[in-house]
């Protein structure tokens, strides 16, 4: 990852309405040059709209888009320094691989020898040397997407936009293609903006992730930040597997807040938020940082705990999940490595405590 302050893509107050439907509400986003940037969010959240606005396939209702400092809000796609990789295997079915990759250059009226040279170089970059004369229907899904990538890269655009490029691939192939995309991006060093609803894909590939939902940019940061220290409750609910309890602040003391979660009161770091008594907040704890304490362990110190009832255990291969139910009726998950897990010492209906270290809980005000 290049550490540069050069901003490749910037949107200011960007919004898009379709009639009375708002697809995107005033998004401010900055994407540094040379980054692999992922727009992650649930379907229909506006992430594809944002990508299409960047690519110029849509006109913004309000706001501006800058690419390397130039306002391109009203510039058509072909005149923007962006190239798009589409979700479907969007190749020209009647053209060979070489024909597909070289078509953009042909439109730019480059001499055919130069086109051939660039096509060969680009196909070798995406690992498809020797596939020049194949037709799209003779390629696998992954290969077709690589041809699309080559077709975008060969134009030497500043920004490559990828609209769910791996969505149609099966899970194993998607994982391989993730690594490959990342490697290619590092090799060429240009900015990639990648839309996906798959958080594993986003975690694998991204330098930075923006969470987009309900037409808003919820939160943005490195995959580590977003996973470990989500600011927003939505992020905690969307990324990873978090146990979230809602409650009301009953006391604030220094950096610590007491939160009434119904059946008990727990403590959480206020994370330098200005809290006052009576505020509605949520506390989230990653499921792998939670543990279960039996009735006989209730005096263990230095942990936060909520009384709960044990429900059942699920074997998931790498991990084992234990489902527990709080007195409020909310279901919580405790996850542990399946090698560490013996046969569960608890059985259905046992009174237990859901427990975690104070520092593992994150307090969300929104």
């Amino acid at each position: 990852m290049k550490n540069t302050t050069d901003i490749a893509v910037e949107s200011i107050g960007l919004s898009k309405n379709y009639g009375t439907v708002t697809a995107l509400k005033s998004v401010d986003l900055k994407i540094a040059s040379g980054q692999y940037y992922v727009l992650l969010g649930p379907s229909g959240g506006g992430k594809t709209t944002l990508l299409r606005l960047i690519g110029g396939f849509l006109r913004p209702t309000n706001g501006q888009i800058y690419l390397h400092g130039h306002d391109v809000s009203n510039v058509p796609p072909n005149l923007r320094p962006t190239s798009m990789v589409f979700q479907s295997y969007a190749l020209f079915p009647h053209m060979t691989v070489a024909g597909n990759v070289g078509y953009g250059l042909k439109l730019k009226k480059l001499p055919s020898a130069e086109i051939a040279e660039k096509v060969v170089a680009m196909l070798s970059l995406v690992g498809l040397s020797g596939f020049e004369d194949r037709l799209p229907h003779e390629l696998s899904g992954g290969q077709q997407q690589r041809v699309q990538l080559a077709r975008a890269l060969v134009l030497e655009s500043d920004v490559i936009l990828l609209d769910e490029p791996l969505a149609a691939l099966d899970a194993k192939l998607r994982k391989d293609m993730c690594f490959e995309l990342k490697q290619i991006q590092e090799q060429v060093g240009i900015t990639f903006v990648h839309v996906t609803h798959n958080q594993e894909e986003a975690m694998t590939i991204a330098d930075r992730i923006a969470i987009i939902a309900d037409g808003e940019l919820i939160e943005e940061g490195t995959p580590q930040d977003i996973y470990r220290e989500p600011v927003k409750r939505f992020t905690a609910g969307f990324i990873g597997e978090n146990n979230i309890v809602d409650g009301k602040v009953t006391a604030v003391k220094g950096t610590q807040a007491k939160v009434d979660v119904g059946s008990t009161t727990i403590a959480a770091n206020s994370r330098s938020k200005n809290l006052s008594v009576g505020d509605q907040v949520a506390v989230s704890i990653r499921s792998e940082l939670c543990r279960i304490l039996g009735e006989n362990e209730k005096n263990v110190r230095n942990v936060q705990k909520i009384p709960a009832t044990y429900v059942e255990e699920f074997f998931l291969g790498l991990t084992v999940s234990h489902l527990v139910r709080l007195k409020t009726g909310a279901d919580m998950i405790v996850r542990e490595s399946s090698d560490r897990a013996g046969t569960s010492e608890f059985s259905e209906g046992d009174d237990i405590y859901l427990a975690w270290e104070l520092g593992d809980a994150r307090l969300h005000t929104s």
């Binding site: 690519g55 058509p76 005149l79 962006t82 969007a90 020209f92 079915p93 009647h94 078509y103 953009g104």
Partner: protein, 309 residues
């Protein structure tokens, strides 16, 4: 609702257990099995046999009112050594021009409907092109006479505007009149064929082209036409064959120099020269087969029937 369904399923089982009269008659082992042969029998009796007879009869000897078995090339020699052959060639040429004009006028309509008309309305718009068929083709063709004639709409209009001083007489009863008539009659077919052919052009292609910066013309030439080629060819052949074979249009709009193969055959029948009429039909058939062979080699026509991958 669910109860009703269950009863129906039960009823079906009952039929299987003890077949009723109709069950036995139309069941899997009854007449149903032979029902599928019905169209085949129809095609053999009313198409294949007459077609073969056409070829056989074209070699028969002509008699005063009918023909008698024999083997002679007389009809073919008669055809190829007379003005009929020149007329046949020029009608092929004129049909070709009709095909090109139909393509230029009709295919953009198909592209437009596919691209810019909302999905739900597309088929309705295409159905509009069936409307002309509600009027008899004879009437439709005949209606062109008062339009194209010496004192017709076109001439009157142009004279009133002062563009011409004398009426143009070279429209009606000339090849031009026939071409206009053919385009009018056959334009819907290229719209239908083009509309179906556009199914082979995926929608995403247009966004890709937009991103790569392809002009409308380049998209048309590089992408749409090659992908839609089999369908366009099929529509083109259909128009070409009709232009060659439908006697009605040159009969009403053509003159001495604007005769097509269909009209030659019709005239031969009127003159009671049945072997000649058969020979003309056989030659048309062979021309068509040749065209289809070339088309198949160029575009692989089976692609029209394949679903889009």
């Amino acid at each position: 609702m669910i109860r009703t369904n269950k009863t129906q399923v039960g009823g079906g089982r009952t039929i299987l257990a003890s077949p009723t009269f109709f069950g036995r008659l139309f069941g899997d082992n009854g007449l149903q099995k032979y029902l599928f042969y019905l169209p085949a029998i129809f095609m053999v009796v009313f198409f294949l046999i007459p077609t073969l007879l056409t070829i056989v009869w074209s070699f028969f000897e002509r008699t005063l009112f009918w023909m008698e078995p024999g083997f002679t090339f007389f009809s073919y020699i008669n055809f190829f050594t007379s003005a009929r052959f020149d007329n046949f060639l020029s009608s092929m040429f004129h049909s070709g021009i009709s095909v090109i004009i139909c393509f230029i006028l009709g295919f953009p309509i198909a592209v437009f409907v596919r691209r810019h008309v909302p999905q739900v309305a597309q088929h309705r718009v295409i159905l509009l092109f069936i409307l002309p068929f509600m009027v008899s083709e004879i009437i439709r063709t005949f209606m062109l006479r008062p339009v194209l004639g010496r004192n017709g709409l076109v001439n009157t209009f142009l004279q009133k505007l002062g563009i011409i001083s004398e009426p143009i007489t070279s429209i009606l009863f000339t090849p031009l009149g026939v071409i206009i008539g053919e385009v009018m009659s056959f334009l819907p077919f290229i719209v239908f064929a083009g509309f179906l052919a556009m199914e082979a052009v995926p929608k995403y292609i247009f966004e890709v082209c937009q991103d790569l910066g392809a002009s409308r013309w380049r998209v048309f030439v590089d992408i749409i036409v090659p992908l839609a080629a089999p369908g366009i060819f099929a529509g083109g052949v259909f128009i070409f064959v009709n232009g060659l074979g439908v006697a009605l249009i040159p009969n009403i709009l053509g003159g001495p120099g604007a005769v097509n193969a269909g009209l030659i055959a019709t005239q031969a029948i009127s003159a009671l020269d049945f072997p000649l009429a058969m020979a003309v039909s056989a030659i048309m058939m062979i021309t068509l087969l040749g065209l289809l062979f070339v088309g198949h080699r160029l575009f692989n026509l089976t692609r029209i029937l394949e679903p889009i991958a």
